[in-house]
Symmetry: C2
Subunit: 371 residues, 2 copies
């Protein structure tokens, strides 16, 4: 096999091959086993390339004739920093990706030759990005390895449906997006255009509305709210005027969105302003789901067909008495009684691996049909 860029990252493969050779045939070199890691096992890599961290999961290639085991066997998990090229630049992103995949393979005692498919999920990826990233991966892996690059919403859906691309996924963390897929390959999205373009259901949107409410109470345009004391206390500021400097000191959306738990606490304690913000959030998130479900007719002609709704992200989880996720579900259930809410038990990187497994299965199925 030819040597690839950053060759030293892959030095471990030599040791894996040596161990494999020692295990098999009493040490007699057997090229078949040598290529498949310690035990000839084929693997799939699933990667969640987020803006704060990158997670790579290595799972064994489960035979397509079997149902997926629950829980899914995971051979290794490795974590690295940000691999979003928009955020850290192309060369740092490539190196992070290569390192995290090498780590996961090394921990699985596997090599690149044992890899059957790689699926990388990246936030806000467009077709040009997809093409470029596939070319990076192509420089790393032998030509038989199947490579997939998908929007993070696709992997998030797969993390709830065990890899099947059907239904709707609602993501609400720092940002928010609703994405939907039909079994015949159509897709649709709503929101996901960032804070300037009206993602009011996002963590950033919730926090920005809360900060605005504090400013409005302070200058006499809005009602008093307990958000003032809670937010100033959290940020260690002494006056609402100081919020202006704090807000514009750093353009990070995640820094603003980190105030969501403060808003939920105030709403829990009965503050009407905080409650209004969360009710608006529920309305916004439900309207994103509704737009996707209606455009794809996921609910069927009579509006009652069952469809999965996968719910992902900090805004939809871990709330207290005020549970934004549950409120969204009850709002959606009113319109679409067939909705099947799913909170994924596995992380997005596993969703990406399951997606790769499903793509491979579909391909084998088509090959078996002679297409």
């Amino acid at each position: 096999m030819k040597r690839y860029r950053n060759g030293e990252i892959w030095d471990f493969e030599h040791d894996v091959n040596m161990v494999a050779a020692a295990h098999c045939n009493g040490g007699k070199n057997d090229s078949k086993f040598l290529n498949y890691g310690v035990n000839g096992r084929k693997v799939i890599l699933g990667i969640d390339g987020g803006t704060t961290s990158t997670v790579c999961i290595c799972i064994p290639l489960i035979p397509f004739t079997q149902p997926l085991p629950d829980p899914l066997p995971v051979l290794a998990r490795s974590v690295a920093g940000c691999s979003n090229h928009n955020s850290v630049g192309e060369s740092a992103a490539r190196e992070t990706l290569e390192q995290v995949m090498a780590d996961a393979l090394a921990r699985s005692a596997s090599t690149r030759s044992a890899v059957e498919a790689v699926c990388l999920s990246v936030s806000g990826v467009n077709p040009t990005d997809q093409h470029r990233i596939i070319n990076w991966l192509r420089e790393i892996f032998p030509s038989h390895v199947r490579l997939f690059v998908q929007n993070d919403a696709v992997a998030a859906l797969a993390s709830g449906t065990m890899g099947k691309l059907h239904g709707c996924v609602l993501i609400a963390g720092t940002g928010t997006i609703a994405y939907g897929f039909t079994e015949d390959g159509r897709e649709a999205r709503a929101a996901g255009a960032g804070p300037v373009l009206g993602d009011w259901g996002s963590g950033y949107g919730i926090a920005a509305q809360a900060l605005t409410a504090v400013i409005r109470a302070h200058d006499g345009r809005g009602p008093e709210t307990t958000l003032t004391h809670s937010i100033l206390d959290t940020l260690n500021l002494s006056s609402p005027d100081e919020l202006i400097g704090w807000t514009y000191a750093d353009p990070s959306w995640a820094r603003i969105a980190a105030l969501v738990p403060v808003v939920v606490s105030c709403a829990d304690a009965g503050d009407p302003v905080a409650n209004n913000i969360l009710h608006d959030t529920v309305h916004e998130l439900a309207s994103s789901v509704r737009a996707v479900v209606e455009r794809l007719e996921l609910c069927g002609e009579d509006g009652k067909d069952p469809f999965p709704l996968v719910m992902v992200g900090g805004v939809l989880e871990a709330n207290r008495r005020w549970d934004i996720g549950n409120e969204v579900i009850s709002c959606i259930s009113g319109d679409f009684p067939g909705v099947l809410p799913i909170r994924p038990k596995v992380e997005p990187a596993v969703g990406a691996a399951l997606l790769a497994w499903n793509f491979l299965m579909r391909q084998r199925h088509q090959e078996a049909l002679g297409r």
Copy 2:
């Protein structure tokens, strides 16, 4: 007089002094006249230090016993680039300020010794900034020159009230703020906290709502609107999806706010979505004014006292059938029948000069009373 920083900027003063010497006493050097420019005239400098340009106005010092003439005599006007230190850095800002003041004095055939007072208006200035900027100016001017640094809202009010600090000013350009002052020196503000903190009545706010409406119509969350075609056409884009890239390609708020005329055109042509955005804008702007007027009791105890409302900025001017400024006035008139709307006939730099004149007059008055 000592030589100041960037001495060459002030070389013209030598020529002015020579001309003055030649004019007076048949060329006999007369130090009194020499210090006062060509004709012994004392002057005031008013400067509007904006983020796009800096304007400096030189007016003669009108005797305090006379009413201000209308129109006000302006000796010179000079223009330079941005002098906002937050935007271009301290050293570039200082140089721009010094250059624009030197130009105005040279065009007035005056020197720094003829200057009685300088008033510089800067957007979003805080006490720390004020102190620092006064120190810059102190390095340029002889010690007898009175120096004032004020928020741009103060100069905007003065541009409508001929320098008197009483009433409310509403600014709505790229950003928005309402500022109010009472005759006994109290002040209050509303809004002006920037786009993240709810300045929805600003040009940026109007345009961001319009862009959001296009995204919502596109993904099925909102009604169709003619804003889609008009905005895409203006920006030379082919699909609402491309708006996302366009929006985040450049963090300039003014670039987004430049879409306001498109929104007004669509509203003029009857588009309900554009009309709603402008009605919300009127409501937001009126609520800022109302908050300031109520906190300062500018309308008196019975709510009917007269008070000036100075209206400044692109959002409040130059509209067509849909006139945001007029709508705000009619909204405010309903609450406060004593409101006296003023659209300033002079620019903010003149307002700054008038402010300096008023400060000087008040000081002389207090000196005359032996305080």
